[in-house]
Symmetry: C2
C-alpha cells in the first residue's frame, strides 16, 4: 500500500533562528513591521508500507537518523494512505 508522509520541522523554543531574524530585518528595511517571525520546513514524500503504524515508525526513524536534529528540532509526522492499492 502507498502512503503519503508529511514531516513538519520547526526549531525548539529558545533556539535562535537566524533565517527568521534576517527575514524580519529585511522586511523592516522595506518598512513592514512584523514580529514573532518563525520558519517551518515541511518535507513531503510517498512510500510503500504495510500499515499506518509501520509507516509512521519508519518515517520517525528517518527523522531521527537524517531529516531532523532531535537536539534542536521539534517534528510532527502525518501519514495518509493513498486510495490506490498496489
Amino acid at each position: 500500500m502507498k502512503y503519503d508522509a508529511e514531516v513538519k520541522i520547526s526549531l525548539k523554543k529558545g533556539m535562535l533562528n537566524p533565517e527568521a531574524a534576517t527575514i524580519e530585518r529585511a522586511l523592516a528595511l522595506l518598512e513592514y513591521q512584523v514580529e514573532d517571525t518563525k520558519t517551518i520546513d515541511i518535507i513531503k514524500f510517498s512510500l510503500e508500507g504495510e500499515n499506518d503504524e509501520t509507516v509512521h515508525k519508519e518515517v520517525d526513524e528517518m527523522c531521527q537518523r537524517l531529516l531532523c536534529n532531535p537536539v534542536i528540532h521539534n517534528y510532527e509526522i502525518k501519514i495518509t494512505s493513498k486510495n490506490s492499492i498496489k
Copy 2:
C-alpha cells in the same frame, strides 16, 4: 488589531528541487525508498493591521517584494486575527 500571518511557499510544478533530490538520495543511502519528495517553506509572523483584507494585501506585497520569487514559487497566504484587541 493584531493578526497572525502564515505564508506557505512551494516551488512551481516542473521546477527542479535540489533540496528534495538530495533528501531522497540520502534516504536511499540509508535504505529508505521514498519518492515524489517535495519541500515546502512556511514563514509565520504577526503584524498590526486594520482588517483582514488590508493585512492580506500587505502580506501579499511582502511576498512579491521579498519573501517569494513569483517566477519560480507558488505561495499561499493565511491570515488569522488574534483575539486580543490592542
